[in-house]
Symmetry: C2
Subunit: 341 residues, 2 copies
DNA sequence: TTTAAAATCGAAAACGTTTTCGAAAAGACC
DNA sequence: GGTCTTTTCGAAAACGTTTTCGATTTTAAA
C-alpha cells in the first residue's frame, strides 16, 4: 500500500502540507519555483489524492446513484450505457442498484445511496411503487433526484421521459390507417404510469377514429421477465376473440410471446393478425416476422438524465435556484414485417 | 440538509461524542441506561452516520468496482445481475465502468477506481488488452482484483471462468456425433483468451475424431456489437466453401447473423447447414430455428466473482494470507432446432 | 471502613485533505 | 533608511467519525 500523501511530499521538500496542497491545486499564492518542485516531486512519488479525505472535506463525492427495476431488459441496458458514458464524460462515477421491481427494495436502496453521500440519484420506478414519500424525502434532504422512463407525475423533480400516451396513440392510429379494424391491446399491470399511459393512448386512438373501445379486448401482461405472458394471452385471446386482426402489445417482449404462439399455432402474422410491439429491442429484428415497434431512445434518455442531474447538483452547490425540467424525448414508429401484408 | 451528527446527539443528551459513538456501535463499556437513551435520541433525531467520515477513519469504503467491456450483451447483463445481488447481500455497493473493449479506457478506469479507494475490483478484460501491468500494479497496491470470463492466464489473482476450450470441444464433438462432417468455425479476434480457447477446442475436437483441420474453414468475426459479421461471413463462406454442413460460431450473436443470412438466402438450417452458438442468450430462443448453444452461467459467475473478491478483501483486512482461487463453472449444451434434422 | 476490582465515561489523537487568515519576506517607492 | 505594497508561505481549524487510554465512579470483597 504505502500511498504517498501530502505530508510525504511536504517533508521530502522541507515545506508545509498547505503549500503542497495549494501548489497542486494551482493556487496563485505559491511561487512558480516551488510549484514546479512540488509537481515534480508529486510525480516521482506517484502521489494520488485520497478521494475519501477530499470527499469529507469538500462534502461532495462526485458519484451518482442509479436505481433501475432491472438490467436484463435491453431497454435499460441502453439507458445504462447512456448514463455511464455521460457520467464519465462529466467526471462522475455511478453506483448501480437494482430494485427488481420491488417497492421495499427501492426504498431501502435510495436510503443507502443517501447514506453513502452520493451527489444525486437517477431512478426509474418499480412497478409496485405508488407511494413517493421516499423520493420527496430525498429531495428535501438536498439530494437531487431525477426520474426517467418510469416516473411519477406527482413528484416535483426533473424527469426525462417519452410520451407514452402519444406513442401508443400513434401506434394504434398507424394500425387503423393500415386498415386493421379489431385491435386488441395487451397491457401491463395497473400501477406503472407507462402502462396506464399506453393503455390510454390505445383507447383514445380507437375513439378518435370512430372505433368503439371494448374492454374485452384488453389483456393484462404483468410479468416483465419472460414472454410467457404474451404467449399465454395470445392463446387465450384466439379462443375468446378469434376475429381480432391486430394486437398492440405494451412491450416487445410480450409481442415476441404473441408471435411465438402464432408461429406455433399456424396463425399467420400479419395476414391474420398483425402485431405491434414497443421499445425496439434488439430482439425485434431477430424474430420472424420482424416486429413493427416504437423506438424508445434509451441511450439518449440516459444521457439527458445524467445531464439534468449534474446540472442540478451544480445549481445546488453554487446556491443557484434549482429549476426542474421535464424532457420529453421523441419516439418513432419502426415499421417491419409484423404489420405489413 | 441539516444532517444530525454525533455531536448533535451528544449535546442534546449532555454527554460526549465518544459515548454516543460507542453506544451506537455496541461497545460494552457503556451502561445499558445511556445506551438506550442514545439509541432513542438517535432515532428521534433521525441520525444517519456520514459514510465518508467513516470511510476515512476505517480506511474501507464497502464499495467494489466493476469493469466490463460492454453491458449491452445479454451475457454481461446477467453477470451484472449476479454481481449486484451478491454484493448487496454482503453489504457492498458497486460502481460500474464500461471499457467499451478499449485497453486505454480500461487502464484509466482501473486507476480511477483505485483512486476512489474501492475495496476491490472485478474485471473482465477488453478485447484489446494484452498488457497486464495495470492489473498487477493494482494488486501490488493491495487492491484485490478478481477476473471473470475474459481473463488473463498470466495474472496472478483469483478468477472465475468457464472452460472455453472444453465447451467448444464438446460442442464440436456433439456436431461430429450428429454426423456432420465438414464443420466450419466463425471465431473471434486473435487477442482474447476466450476466442483463442474456443478455437483450440474446435481444432482439437476435429483432430480427436479424425477430421483434418482446415484453416480455410475458419472465419474471423471481430465485431462484438452486431450480427452483421456473422451475416457477411455466412454469405462469404457459402460461395467459398458451399459444401460445409455445419458452423460452430463463437457467439450467439454471430450465429444469429448466420441464421439470418441462411433464412434470407433460402439455405435450410439445419438440413443443409447446422448452426451452433455460444452463450445461450435470450435471443437464441427467439430466432427461428431456435439455436443450439452452450449455456454460460453468467448470473452464477457474477455471484462467485463477488464472493471470491469479498473473501479476499476480508483476508487482507484481517491480515490473513491471501490465496488465489480459480473457479471453473460448468457449461452444458442446450440442444435446440438449429442442429437437429 | 478500607481496598481492590469492575463499570462507566470522556479527552484527545487520528484518518488526509482544503481553506482561511495572519505572518514573514521581498520588492517598490520616496 | 523608512514606509507601503506585493509575494510567498504556514499554522490551525475544519470535515465527522473511531478508538485508545486514562480518569472517575460504583460495586464487591475483606
Amino acid at each position: 500500500m504505502n500511498d504517498t500523501k501530502l505530508i510525504d511530499i511536504a517533508s521530502a521538500l522541507g515545506i508545509s502540507v498547505t503549500t503542497v496542497s495549494k501548489a497542486l491545486k494551482g493556487y496563485t499564492d505559491i511561487s512558480k519555483a516551488t510549484r514546479a518542485r512540488v509537481i515534480e516531486m508529486a510525480e516521482t512519488m506517484n502521489y494520488i489524492p485520497n478521494s475519501v479525505a477530499v470527499n469529507l472535506r469538500t462534502n461532495e463525492t462526485k458519484t451518482i446513484g442509479v436505481i433501475i427495476p432491472a438490467t436484463v431488459h435491453h431497454f435499460f441496458s441502453s439507458v445504462l450505457n447512456g448514463i455511464l458514458e455521460e457520467a464519465e464524460k462529466r467526471g462522475y462515477l455511478v453506483i448501480i442498484l437494482q430494485s427488481n421491481e420491488k417497492y421495499e427494495l427501492e426504498k431501502k436502496q435510495l436510503a443507502l445511496l443517501i447514506q453513502k453521500r452520493v451527489d444525486g440519484v437517477l431512478m426509474s420506478l418499480s412497478n409496485e411503487t405508488d407511494d413517493f414519500t421516499h423520493i420527496n424525502e430525498a429531495i428535501r434532504k438536498n439530494t437531487p433526484v431525477v426520474l426517467f422512463d418510469k416516473i411519477a407525475k406527482r413528484v416535483d423533480c426533473s424527469k426525462v421521459v417519452i410520451n407514452d400516451a402519444k406513442a401508443a396513440y400513434d401506434a394504434v392510429t398507424y394500425l387503423i390507417n393500415k386498415g386493421y379494424k379489431k385491435i386488441a391491446h395487451f397491457r401491463g399491470s395497473y400501477v406503472p404510469q407507462n402502462s396506464i399511459d399506453r393503455f390510454l393512448g390505445y383507447k383514445r386512438a380507437l375513439e378518435a377514429h370512430g372505433i368503439e373501445y371494448d374492454s374485452k379486448l384488453v389483456y393484462v401482461c404483468d410479468n416483465n421477465t419472460d414472454f410467457e405472458d404474451g404467449y399465454e394471452n395470445a392463446q387465450k385471446i384466439m379462443t375468446e376473440n378469434p376475429d381480432i386482426d391486430a394486437i398492440f402489445a405494451i412491450t416487445d417482449l410480450v409481442a415476441i410471446g404473441i408471435i411465438k404462439y402464432f408461429n406455433e399455432a399456424g396463425i399467420k402474422t400479419p395476414e391474420q393478425v398483425a402485431v405491434f410491439g414497443f421499445s425496439n429491442w434488439f430482439m425485434s429484428t431477430v424474430i420472424s416476422p420482424k416486429l413493427t415497434t416504437i423506438d424508445q431512445p434509451g441511450f439518449e434518455m440516459g444521457h439527458q438524465a445524467v445531464s439534468l442531474l449534474i446540472d442540478e447538483i451544480m445549481d445546488i452547490k453554487e446556491h443557484r435556484p434549482v429549476t426542474h425540467q421535464i424532457i420529453e424525448l421523441p419516439t418513432r414508429i419502426i415499421e417491419r414485417e409484423s404489420t405489413v401484408k
